[in-house]
Symmetry: C4
């Protein structure tokens, strides 16, 4: 399969690698949920670390949504170049970093002096992921150069516009953290839940003329 | 492969991602088995942490069984939608969480005041996995909308019914933990061993009319 | 691909899952090599933890050799059953356990009272891997029931015999640990190096009549 | 797929395994970025551990570049042998080791007495990766024995020469560490950034006669 020098083989191996990194990053999130070591009630100790569970859920759903979108994006991409592979490596670098700020927020959300810094780091990581997602898409779609044939130009523009929502929304949520870290995290959670909804997906089928 | 906008490609990439998350979650379980640090007999110290090995085995077999069943289920699924991908992400979120309650039970099973709480958390995680497994199946099979063609409706109903056993059995085992954590864990272990048996598999072949 | 209910699809997904677990177990080995925390010379501290590096290399090569052999074995396997999948899950459970005894040996090889126990645990894990490898092969090859067509029976017997060498050699090395842990580990290392050699591979090509 | 005894199947499974190990090693790098535990300003503590972030970025990009090059190399490889698989296992062993020296450098770069040793270990690991990459390529290309048909000999020589740059550059950067660890790490970072550039890729397309 990959020994065949065709373009499709390239896309397949990139997708496999990207899926691997995303699957690992999403699964490593559980390592930040620590076993409480307490002499008192385990139930109380477990309840007290709710930020760890919340962080796990929000970051898991966010990476899951990015995976679904990456998956959708690659239905339109048919070619890769050296530079495009490298942009994907940088994109994956931002995703693989997420377990760090997730643990940071979980550990410091209860510390008044530190929660703003932790939330801003989390937000900046999210912004970096969303920006790199757009960079990858624009690199592939500019002039349609890496897309499969038969893709409708109006559809590409519609997708490009819809992807811009990510960096904008994450930047706003990050700025909100400077005023209220809790509100900021609430926005990140709300965005993860919103993008779970079926109707929030971009209509790719019409872009490529499927029935 | 994945650059082709067909439905089959979608299923392949979902299965690859799910396999990745399940393979990682199952392998991360070993990280909860800690090296004992002791000044006395290493043999004694190794023997004393038997709950860690038991937890490793039961959770490993359970994830392995879920993987086999997921694998079987996807032999009948031929299409995916945005919402269906998202349900799978939530399903994977419950599986990737398992290393946490596994370590929790291993650490607290010897602490009389804490073992009930630890076992209930373990059981609730198992119930969540089994419920999401059913949700994924029902989302795909409702009206046969995401199934491959040629699937027999009576067979679908039979599978749907057989899958209901999981959440019911896990809920009972979890409730038992309130009375006896050891009995509850014994039931989880017995279920893992039972589902290992060849005869416990649902007869998928007849559902899709194979010889 | 996996949405097709054929037998070949089953084998592919099992191999992907097995490769995933083996790739993760082999890569997690690095987590047992700890950063030394020392106030004195870092060079001395790094040199002092040579057992960690040796354990990393021996376990890495061993899992790598198992992966190559698993890969070779599956060139002859064309069908899977529920029971066969489960046997593979148990086989993978023994491989995924290896990071634990590897770290155990690295931590205790310098402690005279503990090194025997640590080495025996390491050896028992190796024996379990080799036994399960044989169980998987025999389950597939008994009466040729899960093999691809055109496999030569004399070849199957030759492979079955060659595989028996693993459990026997590992059992001997484990028994040696009771007398001399260092000699035992030397044997495990020597076996890993021996199996690296090209000539040690079973001649699969002739079994399936390749040119 | 893998149940078919053809050569292409072998290459596919090797690539999948290699991709898995590289995807895991690259994602495990985040585990060396520790959550600071501080009573003072979290912002200051986060800023103080800049070597961790720098190490993460340089090692991530380096593994990413190796992955892209491995991917390119395998477009020309059509066959595998037992010995070739084993050489790939040793190659992967050097990559999977990288999280260790990355953490070592991050922890000791601020300790004047230890930073040279840490940087030399990092450099030696990089040299080992680059040497094994060349060994894998030479094993496959010697006499063209494992290459796909139609590969141009002048092109093979050109690739062989271009790959030699890696071990030489990494050896020089490692020797520089004996004089100045910071300059050495700067060279490793500069090489990672340089190889990100599109124009630094070897022109594989012309080697295999693509349009």
């Amino acid at each position: 399969m990959a020994s065949d020098p065709s373009v499709s083989s390239d896309t397949a191996r990139l997708e496999t690698f990207a899926d691997g990194v995303m699957a690992i990053a999403i699964t490593l999130l559980i390592l930040e949920v620590k076993i409480p070591h307490t002499e008192e009630s385990l139930t109380t100790a477990l309840a007290a670390q709710w930020p760890s569970y919340a962080g796990y859920v929000v970051s898991f759903l966010t990476i899951g949504i990015i995976w679904v979108n990456h998956h959708q994006m690659f239905k339109l991409i048919g070619h890769v170049t050296h530079g495009f592979l490298m942009l994907n490596v940088i994109f994956l670098m931002t995703i693989a970093f997420l377990p760090f700020p997730t643990a940071l927020v979980a550990d410091y959300i209860k510390v008044p002096d530190a929660r703003t810094a932790a939330t801003v780091v989390y937000g900046l990581n999210m912004v970096a992921v969303a920006v790199m997602f757009n960079v990858v898409w624009r690199s592939a779609s500019r002039g349609g150069r890496l897309l499969i044939s038969g893709v409708d130009h109006a559809g590409i523009d519609r997708i490009s516009k819809s992807y811009l929502g990510g960096p904008i929304a994450y930047t706003i949520a990050t700025l909100v953290a400077l005023v209220s870290p809790f509100l900021s995290l609430g926005i990140f959670a709300a965005m993860a839940l919103f993008w779970l909804l079926p109707s929030s997906g971009v209509d790719f089928a019409s872009t490529i003329g499927e029935s």
